[in-house]
Symmetry: C2
Subunit: 118 residues, 2 copies
């Protein structure tokens, strides 16, 4: 079975170097050489990561033979965000539960404080 | 180098069966047998997927020896959502650009329409 687009995107993102490359592209397009610099990686190693990102549609490369700058393509990231929305209420609920718990603790402290005063 | 937590989460999510298991758990906790049903998969195959999800902290399993229900844990999904936030303006920008383009087309149509009338 061929992997679906969302699985290809998530697999491409499941690597800290590839996420660091995307983070670098937030500030604008860059050449392979520029992208390789901070990682102390060989150009072929960086090129391999770029191919994975390109196949996932997360970057696009210019057509100029010499310089071929890479730029960020956010479409697949939006698909991940859309998928995540189905789960938002779960982490917001846990946050609410934590809030309730902390609120309860504070109320108890206030009550205990009042007891001490009387 | 040991993979970082975000990479482990994203790799666990990069599989349609594992995402379908999480989607099933939105409606409440379920046993391995219940989770296996819709996929026509063997229990060991489902158990293997559950282990990947559990290692990523995306599910938690009950302690009852007989039934050990699985439940969704949304914490790691929130981490993915937080990471994605850095990129939101990129897909919102592309949407804005599309909006500008469509708006431009409509304005042109209105102008052309007026020309025809005169």
């Amino acid at each position: 079975m061929a992997p679906d687009a969302l699985s290809i995107t998530l697999a491409a993102l499941a690597d800290p170097t590839r996420r660091a490359i995307l983070a670098r592209l937030i500030s604008g397009e860059a050449s392979v050489t520029e992208l390789a610099e901070p990682f102390e990686m060989s150009l072929p190693a960086v090129s391999k990561h770029l191919k994975v990102l390109e196949r996932a549609g997360l970057i696009r490369r210019g057509r100029e033979a010499q310089w071929r700058p890479c730029r960020l393509e956010a479409g697949p990231l939006k698909e991940v965000a859309n998928w995540l929305e189905h789960y938002r209420r779960f982490w917001e609920q846990s946050f609410d539960r934590l809030g309730d718990y902390l609120g309860g603790l504070q109320a108890k402290e206030r009550r205990d404080g009042c007891k001490d005063e009387h």
